[in-house]
């Protein structure tokens, strides 16, 4: 370890009459340890951020996959509905109207001639 900077620091302090009578010998080590601790915390924070981003991406991919799958399933339901044969609307309605007509005797297939129908 280069001790020259420490020696020159003491010389500078003495030259400028800018020193306390006593200074801890482990001051530099405690500063550097604190610095590395802070850097470690920052690194951990940034790695946590990366994890969060990765988790968000995975979640987004899963959501997209689920949505796409749901769409295709919905398409299948629709096509099934459409594929079922359906009675023509007009004929059904006409039939219903005729069925309910009190002036038409469906069994005899003739028009009633009572007073109400006249």
């Amino acid at each position: 370890m280069n001790n020259d900077y420490n020696i020159y620091g003491k010389i500078l302090g003495a030259l400028n009459k800018d020193y306390l009578p006593r200074v801890s010998k482990n001051f530099t080590d405690s500063v550097m340890n604190k610095l590395y601790e802070d850097n470690k915390v920052i690194n951990e924070q940034s790695s946590n951020q990366y994890l969060n981003i990765a988790a968000s991406v995975v979640l987004a991919v899963i959501t997209s996959f689920v949505l796409v799958s749901y769409d295709s399933m919905e398409d299948k339901f629709v096509s099934n509905d459409i594929s079922q044969p359906e009675e023509p609307v007009k004929e059904v309605l006409i039939k219903k109207v005729i069925d309910k007509d009190p002036c038409f005797d469906q069994n005899e297939n003739v028009i009633n001639e009572n007073n109400e129908c006249k």
């Binding site: 020259d4 420490n6 020696i7 620091g9 003491k10 010389i11 500078l12 302090g13 030259l15 009578p21």
Partner: protein, 187 residues
């Protein structure tokens, strides 16, 4: 033996070599702790505030303007951090309750193991003879740069000397001082 220029050390830190910052802490801790002590009036607090000063400096190293001296920049951080410290509410309360007893506690802190501390009074008494021993041109350069806070450019103009020569002579003067200091202290 090689003492790098502050700007070279800062460049090294900025390029990712955190360990280089140790050199700046080693070099300026004595003066920065003393600056903080002028405000905190307590040596333990002064070291705590000084530690904060160096950490702030490291965090803001990318904002350092290379046209000024690193110590001037560091000194401003030290003054601001010390002012923040004494202006904080807790410390204001503590200041109000400072008594003779608390002053005695500070004095007692000096009774810790002497091996844990540098005795700077004794060391300082050995420095002046080393300065006096330097060749006159080198002594003038050291005084201008380290005491009167001139920049390389200002010294170059004042002494009508190329900047490169100023740098190399200062480098030589520093190495002579360190070497002589080691010799008298058996370090």
């Amino acid at each position: 033996m090689n003492i790098e220029d502050d700007h070279q050390i800062i460049q090294s830190c900025l390029s990712g070599n955190t360990e280089s910052f140790r050199h700046l802490v080693d070099k300026y801790q004595v003066r920065i702790i003393n600056t903080c002590y002028k405000y905190t009036k307590n040596s333990d607090d002064a070291e705590d505030v000084a530690q904060e000063v160096f950490i702030k400096a490291y965090s803001n190293l990318s904002n350092f303007k290379f046209d000024s001296k690193f110590y001037s920049w560091l000194y401003r951080i030290a003054v601001n951090t010390s002012l923040n410290y004494i202006n904080s509410k807790e410390k204001r309360r503590e200041k109000e309750t400072i008594s003779e007893e608390s002053c005695q506690i500070d004095d007692n802190s000096h009774n810790n193991d002497p091996k844990d501390y540098y005795d700077l009074v004794e060391l300082a008494s050995r420095v002046q003879p080393l300065i006096d021993k330097l060749p006159e041109d080198l002594r003038a350069l050291i005084e201008l740069y380290e005491i009167y806070d001139y920049t390389y450019e200002e010294i170059s103009i004042k002494l009508s000397m190329p900047i490169g020569t100023v740098r190399s002579r200062l480098h030589r003067a520093r190495n002579m001082l360190i070497s002589d200091f080691k010799n008298i202290n058996n370090e």
